[in-house]
């Protein structure tokens, strides 16, 4: 695989599809949450409107350079993650820039946005941001663990670090998905997944009243809009990785939409059922439930 | 004969040491040591003694030719002289120290001279 200029419009196309689908997904999931609470929920276009409004705000303030760059880092992380992972297996158009790096790149690029965001929030000088970051980072490090272990189990299983090859190995009927060939790893990975989706029960770092929504408390207007955009893209990007590693990938867009929706649904369902964990509770949760499963999955591969 | 002398010497040594270890008075200790070194001297001399022989002086009674068979071992005698003199020197020194100590500390009790320890 190597670079050709045509890949840039292709990648932009992928990005557009994922973005639109992401907006839709976000709305759907919110609506589902509302329905679970007996409400009607937001309108289907609400997410677009909110985004547009935020981009259109007239006044802005800035706390400094990093405050400015934080959202940029954040969104770069999301967009980059999408672009470094092949979206549709077997499609030349939607391979994106996966030639630049393998699974390891995807694993570590996740941190890029987090880091930048945390820096931006930090520069606002707001203690609530700092508290939120503390909680978020603490929880994320614990949640990443079962995921990373499961990922490693999978790459050991298929003896490759290339996402494309892992997907290739899962082709040929759903029984060859990692979900069925290595269920323990998948369970471990899904536990980690819950922790990184910023949903209940693992969303205490966004506590709206105690530390008014945590890290982004000072962000507004276009800053917030960039972050919202990322909030739309990033879960999809992450789910794409999960889908590719554990659920056989997607060979065309309908399958992609379906699988992403179903995986997204997992976290949404858990989120509407369970109340919040304190941070140390969630750390313990990941270490007690996720970690042993992850270790087990590595050992039995 | 030799055994008696030697035993006497050793007993003196032990007595002297006992005295030196149990008396806390410095002067008594010095005296005890004198006893012990006397015992040592006795042991020294008794080692050189050989039954039935005479003093190692080559006078008329002991002609040079037969000296090998008729005199006792002269070396311990030479040694004991040195030992005595040295013992004396040390004793004198100890006494001087004792005097000085007494002048400084106003006591002759060695168990009280313990400002240097640990």
């Amino acid at each position: 695989m190597s670079f050709e200029w045509i890949q840039i419009p292709y990648a932009l196309l992928t990005l557009l599809i994922v973005f639109v689908y992401g907006v839709f997904m976000t709305t759907i999931i919110r609506k589902m949450g509302a329905r679970a609470g007996g409400r009607y929920g937001i309108r289907l276009y609400q997410t677009f409107v909110d985004l547009a409004k935020n981009y259109a705000l007239r006044s802005h303030i800035s706390h400094g350079i990093m405050f400015y760059l934080g959202p940029v880092f954040r969104l770069t992380g999301g967009v980059g993650l999408i672009l470094f992972v092949p979206t549709i297996y077997g499609s030349v158009m939607h391979q994106n820039f996966a030639f630049a790096g393998d699974l390891v790149l995807a694993l570590y690029f996740v941190f890029f946005g987090t880091l930048g965001m945390a820096l931006g929030a930090g520069e606002s000088g707001h203690p609530y941001s700092a508290v939120g970051i503390t909680r978020g980072l603490s929880q994320m490090t614990a949640a990443e663990l079962p995921f990373v272990l499961a990922v490693f189990a999978v790459s050991l299983q298929y003896q490759t670090l290339s996402i494309t090859e892992i997907v290739a190995a899962q082709q040929g009927g759903f029984l060859s998905w990692t979900l069925f060939t290595n269920p323990i790893a998948v369970v471990a990975a899904m536990i980690g997944f819950l922790g990184t989706m910023m949903r209940s029960p693992f969303d205490v770092f966004l506590a709206p009243q105690e530390i008014p929504i945590g890290p982004p408390t000072e962000f507004h207007s276009a800053y917030l809009a960039l972050m919202q955009t990322n909030r739309i893209l990033f879960p999809i990007a992450k789910i794409v990785i999960y889908m590719n590693l554990f659920f056989g990938g997607a060979t065309n867009w309908p399958v992609f939409f379906l699988k992403v929706f179903l995986i997204y649904l997992v976290s949404a369902l858990v989120g509407v059922v369970f109340p919040r964990f304190r941070v140390e509770q969630s750390i313990r949760f990941f270490l007690i439930w996720g970690l042993p499963l992850g270790i087990l999955s590595i050992l039995i591969v | 004969m030799i055994t008696i002398a030697m035993t006497t010497g050793f007993v003196l040594i032990l007595i002297g040491l006992y005295g030196a270890l149990t008396n806390t008075n410095i002067l008594r200790m010095i005296v005890s040591f004198t006893i012990a070194s006397t015992g040592v001297n006795v042991v020294l001399v008794s080692v050189g003694y050989m039954p039935g022989r005479t003093a190692p002086i080559l006078d008329d009674a002991v002609p040079v030719g037969s000296a090998t068979t008729s005199i006792i071992d002269p070396i311990p005698q030479a040694l004991v002289l040195t030992a005595i003199v040295i013992g004396l020197g040390v004793t004198a020194l100890m006494l001087a120290y004792a005097y000085r100590l007494f002048r400084i500390r106003q006591t002759l009790d060695i168990s009280k001279i313990v400002e240097l320890k640990w």
């Binding site: 000088g125 | 200790m29 080692v47 040390v90």
Partner: protein, 1041 residues
């Protein structure tokens, strides 16, 4: 050549002649004394020179014109000449030193001094056992006289105790002599050897004789009297008592032991080791300098006795080894006592006054290094040879005990040095008598000269002729120059050395060489910010670099070990310079020396007695000993890399060091340990002990270090401690990579070597610069510095991105190789720990940058400027390098990859085009950089288009639940930043390791505290001790007949 008998003649003659002088002609008397001592010294030295050069042969001096054994004869051999030189020179210098006391007390005391030296010479010279007794008594009595030179009235009591004990000893001695004579029919020592004693049933006599001589060596516990003398006597005399008397007594014991046959040697070994260990432990509790020196003297003599106990296996090296230790001890101890004489108060902290006189500090350090046997002093060569001989003959236990004792000794001696360097010093510089100071310098010079001689005599290269070491020592001479000039010279020296030597480097050496030399030079750039003379910085720093330079080129185990010790000692002095670094520098030294001793033991085991061992020959070590060699060497190297369990020195040492020292000891020094591990694994490979693969153990250690180091780092409030703990973690990664024993694992370790050097130096420098400006290292006291110190911020930002392994910077390369490496490794459990530690690193890194640069600016920091230019300059170099290395990792790694390929069959990386490909995955740094850069730029432009009119606000313009912040201090969320983590995982932080080492040191201290109660101060009790000593040994030896 003047006959050696003239030593005695001149001494005695001058002593008698003094009586002729008027009591008031004290100057004349003193001149006579000095002249006599000078003649005695000259005779000794001329003999030494002649014998050493082969111009003269060992000579017997007959008295009375009759052959021995019928008359007393004296002998001058090499050993005798050497010891005589020590004794007479000590006497000469001490006399000069004692000038005031002697002048005050008059000619009698001078006569006593002369006789003392004469008697000590006699002890060395004589071959007649009874003559030995006479000289002994002379020594005893003259000691009794010289003790009186002290102003301290307690000395009288000590002198009396001494006399009491010597009475007991002389009783034993005489009884022993006469019965030995009876058994042998001769008083000549040489005759004893002809007929074994036991054959004639005179073992007990010999035992008593030996005991008497050994008791003169002040064995533990029968040595309370000696300690009292050391404590109270005039230091000038204590120098004689320790250096000269001890030397003579040791030689006497050796003379007699030599005749007793091998069967008596274990007894001597036992007594010597027991004394060595016990006295060193006891010294731990001393706070009186002279008493401490006393314990140390006793211990050193014990060590020599233990070495004498090994004479059956040392062969013709015996003199070299025992002499090396003895001379080092004599010079050092005399020097230390002399220094103690110019210090007015007796507690150890009073030595701080030395700081006002830097050359004295150098002398002090010289003496300490000599005592402990650090290179390039004689003790070092002796220790090395001794270890090899002991191991070759299977006496490992003896060696281990010696090393433990030496470690304890190093502990209290360097604790003392630390006190002297770090505690508050008086302001007014005291006036020292020039004569006294001169004597001290003379001793120090003699020490260096002895080191040079021993080096020349050794079968290895003379360390003092090693180029790097000479350069480093040269910095002692130019200490007076301004710091900046010295800095230029230092940088030039490093670069020149690299330029001279890089031609012969293989790629591995090249990487380490560049880090050590060029990397060191870059860090030195930061030192330009220091103005003034910066005393005491360059010699240790250059010593450390000299050690590192020698380490890389070392081909034999000796060169390696010597380099190791040089760099250890250099870095110790360097670390000690930090503000509150006293305890940390000490624990650093303790662990490092412990590690060095482990290395020594390992090399000795590996060599199996056939020194010198080429490093490459480690590969040939096989059999049961091989795993032990591996274990010992690994432990030694891991003390330097601060693997978990051996890490407790690191945080303090690195954190407390100066701004430009921290990167040296962290970025550069830690790599020495890794270099060692590389060599070890490269040569010895996998070893199995009790069926366990040792590399598997290393894997666990590495993983645990990575996890716990990182975990501890996140809870630090002190920025430099945080970085220090992170070093533990990072070294854990590298160790883990090495222990994987596959191609990519090693490549990853190397990647860590390079990266860790760069980013840790970078971070330490920036944090150091910030700490310099803010005057604190506590992160919660900082905050909001980004606007004031933007360059430092950028440096830290780049540093932490690299370190956390986030693409696109080069830290990611390390992670990528790591993942590829573990794909083929078998051990999966330890990997889990490494996985866990990765994200944790993220936590503390974020904390570092957030708490310092973001958040709320404090009032007192409002007007800070960015770090000084010279501290920033290397940072910017590092930043540039990191960016370059991120894009082109191949520029360093390609060759190494190929080089490592020689050691492993499996495939390495493929470096086709822009993409780096492994068996399992691929990675294209350039493309990653371009993609990320493009996205980032586009988004940034978008934001700029939307928000370019943003109002810039100030620090309190934050939403605060409709209130406003109170003060910056209460608004900066920084302290206990990761409280939830502490609640969840805090149990992992239980300081088990610290407690473990603390328990050991406490146990030693408690033992010392308990045991020293033995020394009640009562002379009678001391006499009892002497008898107990003899009786117990008698019983232990099973009632010798």
């Amino acid at each position: 050549m003047v006959s050696a008998i003239f030593i005695i003649v001149v001494g005695l003659g001058a002593a008698f002649a003094l009586g002729l002088l008027k009591d008031s002609w004290r100057n004349g008397a003193f001149a006579l004394t000095m002249a006599a001592l000078a003649v005695m010294s000259w005779i000794s030295i001329s003999w030494l020179g002649a014998l050493a050069s082969g111009a003269a042969q060992p000579t017997d001096i007959l008295t009375a014109g009759v052959q021995p054994p019928f008359a007393i004869n004296l002998r001058v051999g090499l050993a005798e000449a050497g010891l005589l030189s020590v004794i007479t020179l000590t006497g000469l210098l001490s006399a000069l030193y004692l000038r005031d006391a002697l002048m005050q007390q008059g000619r009698r005391s001078m006569a006593v001094l002369l006789i003392a030296i004469m008697a000590l010479s006699g002890i060395v010279l004589t071959r007649d056992i009874f003559n030995l007794f006479v000289f002994f008594e002379l020594m005893v009595i003259s000691t009794g006289g010289l003790v009186l030179l002290s102003d301290d009235e307690r000395a009288i009591g000590a002198g009396f105790k001494y006399l009491v004990v010597t009475q007991v000893i002389s009783i034993l001695l005489l009884v022993g002599i006469i019965f030995t004579y009876h058994a042998q029919g001769s008083l000549n020592i040489d005759d004893f050897a002809a007929q074994p004693l036991a054959a004639k049933g005179a073992g007990l006599a010999f035992f008593l004789l030996l005991m008497a001589l050994v008791l003169e060596l002040k064995p533990f516990p029968a040595n309370g009297w000696a300690l009292d003398i050391y404590e109270s006597a005039h230091p000038g005399f204590s120098a004689i008592f320790s250096a000269a008397s001890g030397t003579a007594a040791v030689y006497a014991a050796d003379k007699v032991l030599a005749t007793g046959g091998a069967e008596w040697l274990p007894l001597a070994t036992f007594i010597g080791l027991f004394t060595f260990l016990a006295s060193n432990i006891l010294a731990l509790r001393q706070d009186n300098d002279r008493r401490l020196l006393g314990y140390s003297s006793v211990a050193q003599i014990g060590l020599v006795l233990a070495v004498i106990g090994q004479r059956d296996i040392l062969g013709d090296q015996f003199l070299y080894i025992a002499g090396g230790i003895l001379i080092a001890h004599a010079v050092a101890k005399a020097g230390l006592f002399w220094i103690s004489g110019v210090i007015t108060r007796r507690e150890l902290t009073a030595w701080t006054v030395l700081r006002l006189n830097p050359p004295l500090v150098v002398a002090f350090a010289t003496f300490l290094a000599m005592l402990i046997g650090l290179p390039p002093f004689p003790g070092f060569y002796a220790k090395w040879e001794l270890a090899h001989h002991l191991v070759a003959e299977g006496r490992v236990a003896v060696l281990v005990l010696i090393l433990i004792g030496a470690l304890i000794e190093a502990g209290y001696l360097f604790r003392w040095f630390g006190l002297a360097i770090k505690r508050e010093a008086p302001v007014a510089r005291p006036k020292y008598a020039p004569g006294k100071v001169l004597v001290i310098y003379a001793a120090a010079l003699l020490g260096w000269y002895a080191g040079y001689r021993w080096g020349a005599l050794s079968q290895y290269d003379n360390l003092l002729q090693a180029m790097p070491l000479m350069v480093a020592l040269g910095f002692l001479l130019i200490e007076g120059l301004p710091a900046r000039i010295k800095n230029v010279i230092a940088i030039a020296a490093l670069c020149v050395w690299f330029w001279l030597s890089y031609g012969s480097f293989d790629p591995l050496q090249m990487i380490f060489g560049v880090i050590f030399m060029i990397g060191g030079a870059v860090i030195f750039l930061a030192s330009f910010h220091e103005t003034g003379r910066r005393l005491g910085f360059y010699p240790p720093a250059m010593l450390m670099y000299a050690g590192l330079a020698m380490l890389i080129v070392a081909e034999s185990s000796f060169a390696f070990f010597a380099a190791w010790e040089v760099l250890t000692i250099g870095s110790y002095f360097l670390i000690l310079r930090g503000k509150k670094s006293e305890p940390h520098a000490l624990s650093y030294l303790m662990f490092s020396l412990g590690g060095a001793f482990a290395i020594l033991l390992g090399f000795a085991l590996a060599a199996g007695g056939t020194a010198p061992l080429a490093i490459a020959d480690l590969a040939q070590v096989t059999g049961a000993v091989a795993p032990w060699v591996f274990v010992l060497l690994a432990i030694g190297f891991m003390t330097k890399t601060a693997a978990i369990g051996l890490h407790i020195w690191l945080p303090g040492a690195h954190a407390e060091a100066e701004a430009d020292v921290s990167p040296m000891v962290s970025g550069v020094l830690l790599k020495a340990g890794l270099y060692g591990m590389f060599l070890l694994l490269m040569t010895m490979g996998r070893q199995h002990l009790f069926g366990v693969d040792l590399t598997y153990v290393l894997l666990w250690i590495g993983a645990l270090s990575a996890l716990l180091g990182n975990l501890m780092a996140i809870f630090q409030e002190d920025a430099k401690r945080l970085l220090a703990y992170s070093s533990i973690g990072q070294m854990g990664y590298a160790l883990f990579g090495l222990a994987m024993m596959n191609h990519l694992g090693w490549l990853m370790a190397l990647m860590f070597v390079i990266n860790h050097y760069v980013y840790k130096s970078l971070l330490f420098l920036s944090v150091g610069g910030v700490a310099k400006r803010t005057g604190t290292r506590d992160m919660y006291r900082m905050g909001g510095l980004i606007k004031l110190m933007p360059l430092s911020f950028i440096a830290v930002l780049i540093g932490i991105i690299t370190m956390s392994g986030v693409p696109p910077l080069s830290g990611f390369g390390g992670r990528w190789i790591f993942y590829n490496a573990i794909m083929t490794a078998d051990a999966r459990l330890p990997m889990v720990l490494v996985f866990l530690s990765g994200p944790i690193a993220f936590l503390y890194l974020f904390r570092l940058i957030h708490t310092i640069f973001l958040g709320q600016l404090k009032d007192e920091h409002r007007q800070l400027k960015d770090a000084p230019f010279w501290i920033l300059l290397p940072q910017m170099i590092y930043v540039a390098f990191l960016l370059g290395f991120a894009v082109l990792p191949g520029m360093a790694l390609r060759r190494v990859d190929a080089y490592i390929g020689e050691h492993f069959t499996e495939q390495g990386l493929s470096w086709e085009g822009l993409t780096i490909t492994s068996e399992f995955g691929y990675w294209s740094p350039v493309q990653i950089m371009i993609v990320i850069g493009t996205i980032f730029t586009l988004l940034f432009l978008l934001l700029l288009a939307l928000n370019h009119k943003a109002q810039w606000v100030k620090q309190f313009n934050i939403v605060y639940a409709a209130e406003r912040p109170f003060r910056p201090e209460t608004t900066h969320f920084a302290w206990n930043f990761f409280a939830p983590y502490r609640r969840a995982l805090g149990f992992l932080l239980a300081p088990l390791v610290t407690r473990f080492w603390g328990a050991i040191t406490n146990a030693l201290h408690e033992t010392a505290e308990f045991t020293r109660k033995l020394y009640t101060g009562n002379g009678q009790t001391y006499a009892v001790h002497v008898l107990v000593f003899v009786v117990v040994l008698y019983l232990v030896a099973g009632g010798i007949s």
